[in-house]
Every structure is written in structure tokens, then in C-alpha cells.
Symmetry: C2
Subunit: 354 residues, 2 copies
């Protein structure tokens, strides 16, 4: 591509829950793109979607879709990404992939622009990956603290929104809430289970008026794939291959925005004052932490916004090297579409010499 | 009291959310009591409640209510307990108090019958306290593991039910869910907040379709009173005054049953196999842990039942001395009414020489 020409962008998976947010973000951000091509499965081809105020017709995912494309943002199932990202790269596009297919590939950088932007420049396969939404909900804040204090260990528990499981997750929660609305709301055993029956959608158990300690598939020794992602991805993004990480991932009846409790242990003593200074000035972070004034983040605050919201900043009472935080991040924005768009913008700036 | 006579029991706070469950439990357990006297605030006096299949008239809380009482179970606000528990004790009753008023009093034992039953025998003030419902949701399982492995550190995060805030908490969630039922359910910023407005009841923020990282009142250095209770009470019950404990307490839209993620570090290496053996045989614990078969505890499983449900048993991948668990316990049963009744039964057995 000639320097300073406006790059062509393909959005692959444009009709999905994350794709919808990608189009919103492309309409809101500075318009650096030439053509924006919308790509989806053949059954969605011909649909018209609005981006940058204009209607654009969706084209089917095939080889022709990548002709002349400089950057391709992918949000599709892992197996679709595994097949099509290398094909798009073979056409000369830099692929920014939000699936799990390439995250742990040593030839593919795993990038969060606020934390490790330079990693995006070295991409032997022509592919740059973005992390899972649960990792993303905390890694910007944790990365800023690591840069100052040196991270040694993370113990995190998640409160994950149903939209992390896509549109089906949201519809499942809606339907379950309507089923339990007329009941005694789970005050006697099995109310929720009886009302919901096997209509659990993408979740293994009812999620309305319940919390479900499971996300993803079963991995070795009882860990879920979601928990392993938090560990593996945090290590790779932070460049700490031996970082101690324990995650327990739990689905909660929240539509959008993942929350996490974070217990982070560092190389030496930390102070709350310095922690607040770091978080107050870190790009992509909002410090919202004044419990005396009733200020701490909740999903209702963070939903629809870009930053990671951080509150409940405390130093562990029995360990002066450890901090406890509560963080919230919109899993569809920074957790998926926004991070992908940010990486695409980094790559575009590099390609155009901007 | 003469040995082997049936002791007289007073239930103070009989009309509350926990009191209601106390009466159910007294009707289900072996009938060891002589008279059961129901006591509540003067405005509830004269109401009739059913216990052991019989209607009993509620009497007002005054000195006369404790005449001839051998054991008094209290579930009333802290300030009411602070005033009336010593008065009841002065009448010769052994008070089993479920409030926070006496838990950290060095002259008052803090008892969980499965963990430290003998502590109930030494009660210089005539008062025995039970812990907070959040501590109780995990301490039976943690106590069993401590007895074998020697506990060094706890990092816990809670998923606390709204009934922990009493009937007002349950009514608030119900009303909020009906307010948001017709909306787009929090997929755009502030949906929930707009629908709910300031109708947040006993909670600082909307709890429907949200999670709220706050329970109790503000203590030093940003900690909530609920988080301090988990630390202080765990140390006292386990007899480990220097145990490292970090808790982050979060309210979730579940009616009844608290859940917690538990990261527990022990003196030496632990194994999952031995952990399962301990939990499978520990009194008051149900091991429900086969993720391959979709088995892990949720509030919908545990609500209305007595034991602590434990699942997601994993050894920390980066620390062979640490275990990760997910536990669920009905906050109105073991978390409050059941533990109080179990202590009262311990005391009754001692008094009657049974």
C-alpha cells in the first residue's frame, strides 16, 4: 500500500453482537479508513448495515472479500478464524483477530494497545490477536500497576455478563427472567430451576436469579477454558511467562459488562496513594473509588463506555505487597470490539506512516 | 434447671426473615424443647405463628419474656441484641446471638458447631455468638480442610444474595426486576439506573441486572464492615489470630444463597484427591464437583438446604500449597437460623446432660 493512502478495512463477522459494536465504534472514531467492507457468513450476505452514516451491503466470506484489503478485523467463531485469517493474510491483509484461534501462537502477538502496543509490529503470520473479554476487563489496570510495581501473582474472580456468550446469552437471560417473574423468585429450593427447566441456552445452568461458576469448556484438572485463558493471556501480554495466576470464572445475571475482583501481589510494598495516582492517570482507566461518597464501579456505570473502571482500591491488610481491586469493563467494547479497532488503528497508522 | 427436664426456648426476632426460618427448623429437627416462646418487637406482639405444628402467640420483648427461659436464640438488629442479650443472660438464659454485637467480644465464644463446638461451653457472659452469613457460607468447608492441611491464607470473593439484607432486600430486587422487565435490559448505558432511579432499597446501587461491590458500612482504609467480618470471624473461629485473609464482598441479583470463590493456601502441598476425600466426609458439607458431568454448585442447588455445597475443586496451577473452590450456602439456613439452632441444641444437650 502506498504511504498516506487511506487503508481499506474489512470487518469480518459484521452482523454479530461484537460486529454491531465494531460498526458503532468505526462511526464514532476518527475516520482514518478508505473503504470499509462488511463481511459475514453467506446467509447474511446482501443485508445492509450502517457504518459512518452510510448503508453498506454485507458480502459473503470468501477469497474475493479480501482483495485489496489492508486490514481485516475478525470477530467470528474460533474455527472460522482458524481457516480464514491465514487466507486473508495470504491476500496481504493484516488480520486483527478477536477469536481464541491464534492467541497462544508464538508467531502471533497478543496485543492490548495500552499495555504492549509495540508487540503489534512483529507479526510473522500477518495476524495480530486480541485477548479474551475477561482478560481484557482487568489487564489495562493491572498492566499499569505492573509497570510501576512489578507483578508477581494474580488471584481473580469474575462476575461475567451473559452477552459474553453472544446474542443467545442475552436472549436466554431475558426469557428466563420472564419465566421466573411471576414466581416466588427462588426463595424455595428449585424455584428457578423448575421455572427454567432445560431452557438454559448457552449456559449449563439457569442464570436468572442464579450465578453459574462455569464458562467455556473443560480443561485439565478441573479448570475451565475461560480460566486458562485469563492465566495464559495475562502472562503473554505482560511478558511474564511464569506469573502466578489463579482465576475462577462465574457467570452472573448481568446483560453486558464483566466485573472482576483482583488480588494482585507485587515485588515489594505498595501504597494506596501511589496506586491511586497510577490509576488516575493510566490511559484507558477510570478511577471511581470513594466509598464514603458511595462511589465504586458497577456494570450499570461501565456499560456502553470505553475504559476499565476501577474502584474498591485497598492494600491487603495482611500483606503490604498486595492490592485488592474491583474492576468493571464493557465486554462488548474494550472487551472485544474496541480493542480490535484500537489494534487495527495502530496497524493502519504504521501502514500509512501516520 | 433440673437435669433431663426439657429446656424452655425463647426465639427473639421470631417474625423476621431469619426468625421465620428458625421456626421451620424447630419444626423439622428432633423436638428437644419444652416450651418454645416466641418474642418480637411490641408491634408484632399478639400475632400468631406456627411452630411444631401449633399456633403460638408472639409476646413483646421485655424482661418478663425471659422468665424461666433456659436458652434464647436472638436474631435482631445489633443494637437490640446489645441491650437485650445481657438482660436475658441475667435472667439465667444462655443466649445464642446471631447479631454482630458480641462476635468479637473476647468473653463471648464465636461458634460453628461443625468447626469449634467445644468453644460453646466456655461463655463467661452467658452469651454464645454465631458468625455473619458470609463467613458461615464457607467456614465449614474451610475448617475441615484446615484441620488436615493447616490454613495459612484465604483470598475470597463473595456473590451475596439480597435476602442477606432481610425482607427489604428481597422486595427491592423484586421491584427492580419488574421495573426493568420491559426495557432493553441494560444493553445501553444506564438502562437499569434510569429504570430503578433512587429505588435502591437497602443497597447503595441498583442490584437487578447489576452487581454491587459493597455490603455493610465503611471501615478503615476502604474496607467494608462485611469484609472485615469475614477476616475477623474466620480468625476467631479457626483459632488462627494471625491468619492472612482478604475478602471482597459483592451483592448479586440472587434471592437466597451466598456463593464464594475461595483461594486457600496451606502449610504444605495439597492434593485434589485428598481434598475430595476430606470434603466428601466432612459433616455439613456436600461435595458436588464433576464438571465433566456438568456438576458444580449454584445457588439454585443450595437454596433451602442445610449443608455447604462445594465444587470446582482445583489445585492452584502455580502454587501446589493452594486450593481453589466455589462454595454455596443458604444464607438464611446455615448462614443464620440453622447455625443458631445448632448452637442452641448443643447448649441444650449440655444443660440436660444429654
Amino acid at each position: 500500500m502506498e504511504r498516506s493512502a487511506r487503508p481499506t478495512l474489512a470487518v469480518v463477522g459484521a452482523t454479530g453482537a461484537v460486529g454491531t459494536v465494531m460498526l458503532q465504534i468505526l462511526s464514532q472514531h476518527a475516520d482514518i479508513w478508505g473503504e470499509i467492507r462488511l463481511v459475514a457468513s453467506p446467509r447474511s450476505a446482501g443485508r445492509k448495515l450502517t457504518v459512518r452514516g452510510e448503508e453498506v451491503e454485507v458480502v459473503a466470506l470468501d477469497e474475493a472479500a479480501f482483495e485489496g484489503v489492508d486490514v481485516a478485523m475478525f470477530d467470528v467463531p474460533d474455527e472460522v478464524a482458524a481457516e480464514w485469517a491465514p487466507r486473508a493474510a495470504a491476500h496481504g491483509a493484516v488480520v486483527v483477530d478477536n477469536s481464541a484461534a491464534f492467541r497462544m501462537d508464538p508467531q502471533v502477538p497478543l496485543v492490548v494497545p495500552e499495555v504492549n502496543p509495540h508487540a503489534a509490529r512483529i507479526r510473522p503470520r500477518g495476524i495480530v490477536a486480541g485477548p479474551n473479554c475477561t482478560t481484557l476487563s482487568m489487564i489495562v489496570a493491572v498492566g499499569a500497576l505492573h509497570a510501576e510495581f512489578g507483578l508477581r501473582e494474580l488471584v481473580v474472580s469474575s462476575y461475567q455478563a451473559v452477552s459474553g456468550a453472544g446474542r443467545a446469552g442475552v436472549e436466554t437471560l431475558r426469557r428466563q427472567l420472564s419465566l421466573v417473574a411471576g414466581t416466588e423468585l427462588g426463595t424455595s429450593p428449585g424455584d428457578v430451576r423448575r421455572a427454567v427447566g432445560d431452557r438454559t441456552g448457552p449456559f449449563p445452568e439457569p442464570v436468572a436469579l442464579n450465578v453459574v461458576p462455569w464458562a467455556g469448556s473443560l480443561r485439565d484438572e478441573g479448570w475451565s477454558s475461560e480460566e486458562m485463558k485469563v492465566r495464559d493471556e495475562s502472562r503473554k501480554i505482560l511478558g511474564l511467562p511464569r506469573l502466578k495466576v489463579t482465576a475462577t470464572c462465574v457467570r452472573v445475571p448481568v446483560v453486558t459488562t464483566h466485573s472482576l475482583t483482583v488480588h494482585a501481589r507485587f515485588e515489594g510494598e505498595v501504597t494506596v496513594d501511589r496506586t491511586r495516582e497510577i490509576l488516575a492517570t493510566a490511559p484507558g482507566v477510570v478511577l471511581f473509588d470513594d466509598p464514603e461518597a458511595g462511589e465504586f464501579p458497577t456494570p450499570a456505570d461501565a456499560v456502553g463506555t470505553d475504559p476499565t473502571w476501577v474502584g474498591r482500591v485497598r492494600r491487603a491488610l495482611d500483606d503490604p505487597t498486595a492490592l485488592d481491586l474491583f474492576v468493571c469493563g464493557d465486554n462488548l467494547r474494550k472487551g472485544a470490539a474496541l480493542n480490535t479497532a484500537q489494534i487495527a488503528e495502530l496497524v493502519a497508522a504504521e501502514l500509512t506512516g501516520a
